[in-house]
Amino acid sequence: MSTLREPTRGTRLVLAFPVGMLAVFFLVPFAIMLATSFYHRIEGGFYTPAFELDSWRRLLQPVFIERTLFSIGICLLAGAVCIAVAFPFTYFLTRMRRRPHVTLLVLILSALALSEVIVGFAWSVLLGRAAGLSNVLVWLGLMGEPRAYQPSFLAVLVGLCYIAFPYCVLTLYPQLTRLDPELTEAAQTMGASPWKTFWTVVVPIGRPIILAGFLLAFVFTLGSYLIPAFLGRPEHWTLSVFISDQATFNANVPFAAAMALFLTALSLGVVGLVTWIEGRTRR
């Protein structure tokens, strides 16, 4: 264990930079947004400083409550699907030989270079009728004629999972690489098949990182607004879509600010709740 030392002047100087950046580019905008959410909106795109609760009150409309529940629901689902695929994937990745291991990892990480716009368009083409995946099925003779799978709930879910997947892998990777192979070997010498070993040793030991990856995917997809807008109908839109809609098209910045703050508080709330439940159920 290292002991904490009194920071020297040099340390302070080095620390000043990230602290300063955080203050200027996170705290200040956050404070501005908080203030804006109470401002008075003027029809036609402007707002003046004031203190009124109109924007916040609008959040209580049934349509927004319903959107909120939908957003949380679809993002929890996306997080669950993501982690359910990413955990076994990453586990087997870390157990591979070096060459395919590195190749796959690089491939996964290169998906991070794609902007959400490109991912959204790509999926909308892939799930579309003109040049989509269904054409392959038709070509294989498995389907009569091509059809479109978007816009739909499933298309949004697929898109959200796609953008969150590399982050899930990145969260799981360091820990799973460090998982002592002797643990799974020990289970096998005691009669556990590879499948049983995975469920009785790897998953329980990985529980904290499974939760971390799940929450990351949840928060990350909750912030995505392009994917639901591209791949879903309005009834599949999440709160993020409405925020960007209000800010850019309706030019209602105070309301967008209130919604954004609400969404932040909401995701923090869900993260807190899930962590609390996990802590209680762990022996």
Partner: protein, 352 residues
């Protein structure tokens, strides 16, 4: 099947290559049931790889493994009926002590009450009564070692495999647990294979020692036999300490530094190396005998109270070490001319 034949193991021409590297280069061995056998050798000698092939954790490149006459070479580890203690112990951090010990039983679907009964039995066996509910992180090193042992024995396996099982412990505790583990093994009469690089550990615990070097078996024998009658220079110097004396044999007589030596067996003409244990050599401060002795000068004296050691430069390059108990202590001083005698029966030919 005859109960006494349970756990007899036969290795037939085992080879394991990792790419270009040959970790195990042809090991053939018959291991008797109910005994404790040590694979002893320096790191990288292939002992752990051999053990892992027996456990099924490594697939042999060539060769077969038979357990009680049955070919188990292609059987996955979970169907092999073995118990193993790993070098890192590999205790499950997410389970309690009882959960770890009962893991194999739970996997097998043994009823809850039966598991509890058996776990308590095993806890008693390794003197950990009442600690079943502890978490692994709350245990000391010695207690963890005992949990790993109990866990490996829970399913009453045919083979008990130990991969450097005590290497994580400090010296005193290690010696204590060596005795405990050996007594436990004798009580259960289970065929046990232990990998170790510590010759003291192997001597303390084994019925049979298999000395390995560079992927091959150098010698198999009972501990004292291997110590007293090493067959190669490697075995002589790896098991305990020794003085290796190089000379020439001609007309049935060995000459070392020009002096005649009688040795433990007949030798053919040519270069020859003999091994003499430090405790078998003697100092003489009077006249140096003509046969089986070398004159020299005391370089260094180490007197540890329980053990007395004298380093003598006999002009052979390396000093000859003479060791004895305090009762046999001969008073010598640094720089004093002395003679070192090597009794005939202690001169073991290791290379001829």
């Amino acid at each position: 099947m005859d109960a006494r034949a349970r756990g007899s193991l036969r290795l037939e021409g085992l080879v394991k290559r990792f790419g270009e590297v040959e970790a195990v280069a042809g090991v053939t061995l018959d291991l008797p049931p109910g005994k404790l056998i040590s694979f002893l050798g320096p790191s990288g000698c292939g002992k752990t790889t051999t053990l892992r092939m027996i456990a099924g954790l490594e697939r042999p490149t060539e060769g077969r493994i038979y357990l009680d006459g049955e070919d188990i070479t292609d059987r996955p580890p979970h169907l092999r009926d073995i118990g193993m203690v790993f070098q890192t112990l590999a205790l499950f951090p997410h389970l309690s002590v009882a959960g770890n010990i009962g893991y194999g039983l739970r996997i097998r679907g043994v009823p809850r009450a039966e598991i509890d009964r058996r776990v308590n039995e095993l806890l008693a066996l390794v003197s950990l009564q009442g600690l079943g509910d502890r978490r692994i992180s709350q245990l000391s090193g010695g207690q963890r070692q005992r949990v790993a042992t109990a866990r490996a024995l829970a399913l009453e396996p045919r083979l008990f495999l130990l991969d450097e099982p005590l290497s994580a412990l400090d010296a005193n505790l290690r010696e204590q647990l060596q005795v405990e583990l050996r007594l436990l093994q004798q009580k259960l009469g289970i065929t046990t294979i232990m990998v170790t690089h510590d010759q003291r550990e192997a001597m303390t615990m084994s019925d049979l020692v298999v000395v390995m070097n560079q992927g091959r078996i150098e010698q198999v024998g009972e501990p004292l036999e291997v110590y007293r009658r090493p067959e190669t220079a490697f075995v002589a110097s790896f098991i305990g300490r020794t003085n290796l004396l190089r000379g020439e044999a001609a007309d049935g007589v060995v000459r070392i530094a020009g002096r005649p030596f009688e040795v433990d067996r007949a030798v053919t003409a040519g270069p020859v190396t003999i091994s003499v244990r430090p405790e078998d050599a003697h100092l003489s401060t009077t006249q140096t005998p003509e046969r089986n002795a070398l004159p020299g000068r005391v370089v260094f004296v180490r007197d540890l109270g329980e053990l007395f050691e004298c380093y003598v430069d006999c002009g052979l390059g390396e000093p000859v070490v003479v060791a004895g108990s305090p009762r046999e202590r001969v008073h010598v001083e640094q720089g004093q001319p002395v003679g070192v005698t090597f009794p005939r029966e202690a001169c073991v030919v290791v290379e001829a």
